[in-house]
Symmetry: C2
Subunit: 367 residues, 2 copies
């Protein structure tokens, strides 16, 4: 609820980001360019995100390396073992995950399963004494998020959520523009993320596994944008969700719009969809100017414009590498992660309120 809270966060920065571009973040004084031990990461869930993004990123990280895997599919274990030279003792399934307690090779467990399985793996990993990095959305209910936070706290281990855009230079530049107030106070944010979803049998369309539809999967990026751009927490939300293809969208929303009010009087209008392409950015409107990223959320190609005609194009980094290096650095330096379980919980609370608002037709008080 404190508008200035974001600016005071202790962001554990790796050298991946130019500190000069981030005057509002406190950068640790530890020399990030002199890594010692690399932390061992175990990936839980070997779907396309692990396969195509996270494992390749782990080949480029400064502070981490791919040490182990957790999979329920033996054929994947064989393939990954060969491809990444993973010893048998570092290969687990969901039933044996807790045995990691005896394995010093693994420091961090990165949970990349369907949403509704995040808590189970996170809690097992915490009990095994591991730090946990968990993909977004954190979980499918407030209660499960709270259980994850409690488990990690009890184990004395850190819990981070995979908010890769917190480490993405163009998004950070947009945050900097907001904080600088070079065009005055923020007055409105427009943010949306949609794409036409493919395979109708995938887990993202099953409520028991995904917890919801496009809001949980991609709407969370638009919600995050309103929160990190503003540095405020919303006080009220109203929403409308819709399904026009009830065969494909039997269980979850197809499209959704929501609007947020913030303590300063800032408003945000947001949307998410599984039904159409092209909505993948945000625009921030301040008293005398605006700035936007479009696209804003991809693994690469992020760029934007400002009302003064300048472009926002600070180049491309491997966001997964940055996210993992940041978490590893926080663990090594014994500093709290900025993308904490509490941060993940805040989004889940708001998303649950968005669903309640859509269901009831009433604005939901978030204070």
């Amino acid at each position: 609820m404190n508008p200035a809270s974001f600016t005071r966060r202790q962001f554990c920065k790796t050298t991946t980001l130019a500190a000069a571009s981030l005057p509002f973040f406190n950068v640790p004084t530890a020399k990030a360019g002199q890594p010692g031990k690399k932390l061992g990461f175990a990936l839980v869930g070997l779907g396309s995100l692990s396969t195509n993004q996270i494992a390749p990123a782990l080949q480029t990280t400064q502070y981490c390396h791919l040490a182990g895997i957790v999979t329920g599919t033996p054929a994947k274990a064989v393939k990954w073992k060969q491809q990444y030279d993973i010893p048998d003792k570092n290969i687990y399934n969901y039933d044996t995950l807790e045995q990691m307690a005896d394995n010093p090779d693994i420091d961090v467990v990165y949970v990349v399963t369907p949403n509704a399985l995040h808590a189970e793996s996170t809690i097992k990993a915490a009990k095994a004494g591991k730090h946990v990095l968990c993909e977004k959305p954190m979980e499918i209910s407030v209660e499960k998020c709270e259980q994850m936070i409690a488990a990690c706290k009890q184990a004395g281990r850190q819990l981070a959520i995979g908010y890769r855009l917190h480490f993405e230079p163009n998004n950070l530049e947009c945050v900097r523009l907001a904080r600088s107030k070079m065009w005055g106070d923020l007055k409105m944010i427009d943010a949306g993320f949609g794409f036409p979803i493919g395979d109708p049998t995938q887990w993202r369309l099953k409520k028991s596994l995904a917890g919801g539809g496009c809001l949980m999967d991609v709407g969370i990026y638009a919600l995050q944008a309103t929160r990190y751009l503003s540095g405020e927490e919303p006080v009220s939300v109203s929403a409308i969700s819709t399904v026009t293809d009830p065969v494909k969208f039997k269980e979850v929303e197809e499209s959704i719009t929501w609007q947020l009010e913030f303590p300063s009087g800032l408003l945000a209008k947001c949307a998410a969809s599984y039904r159409f392409p092209g909505m993948e950015g945000f625009t921030a409107y301040a008293e005398s100017g605006w700035w936007k990223l479009d696209p804003a959320y991809g693994y690469s190609g992020i760029s934007g414009q400002r009302s003064d005609g300048q472009t926002i194009d600070l180049g491309h980094i491997d966001q997964f590498a940055a996210e993992m290096d940041n978490f590893a650095h926080c663990i090594i330096a014994n500093q709290p992660t900025s993308v904490s379980g509490e941060e993940g919980l805040r989004d889940v609370k708001i998303m649950m309120a968005i669903y309640e608002a859509a269901r009831t037709g009433k604005a939901i008080d978030l204070t």
Copy 2:
């Protein structure tokens, strides 16, 4: 409520627009290129819109000419009389307006006063036997709109609302793209219009004259866009309004967001503001593509993009000339205007529901 109703409207087209670009409109067969009598227009209210846009446009129209004025400011009467060679007998004030009944020079009264004075002048003009073109928003309450419609009906005269964008080629192209379904069904519309308002003493900031703030003045363009792009009437609306400068915005909203649900399941997220620049367009998202105008609503400079990389840039027309020629042509051809009082009333009804939604925090049923 009929999604196809827009496509069946009898748009009275002037030759200002290329009929070839509008296959979904029925173009009158009357030869528009052979005008006979030009209808005499009297302007009511000689503010900046009349001075800078409408009077100059009347110098270029095919079917109309500036015949008279109605003003409460004698000095303006002197200036306009000289500039446009207006005879004394065609110069009225608000008290003498009804005496137009005896003046055959004046066929149409164009009401360009503050919003809350529209009904009074419209009803007087109708009683004087004149057709009426009235600026948007039609009035500040549903009741006053209904009184205007009834007065014109009783007098057997046409009533049109100044929806100039119904005659603007780039907006019409966007409607055509929606109707063509070349990218499938429309699934979401994003529309907004904001600007930082100047002079704090102007009538637009007084509730008694404006009826509301940015929604009534510029939000109506975003609302209109959702309706003419979709060809549907919304069934539900929720909204949030805000004031961050209570000195300037003592009486009316500073910024507002609203979201609409349509019968097909289409959603729209919209905004208006008197507080920031740069929000002045719309984007339409269909199943496999999108198209946008940015800016969409200005007197000139309207252009946009499509998801296939093509630009939308059908050039510039004088929208006020097109709007007035269209109305004159409808009167001459004895065809109903497409931008009727009923069309104006629909927007006012929805805007009143938007205010009620913002006030109550509840979605308002529009069916």
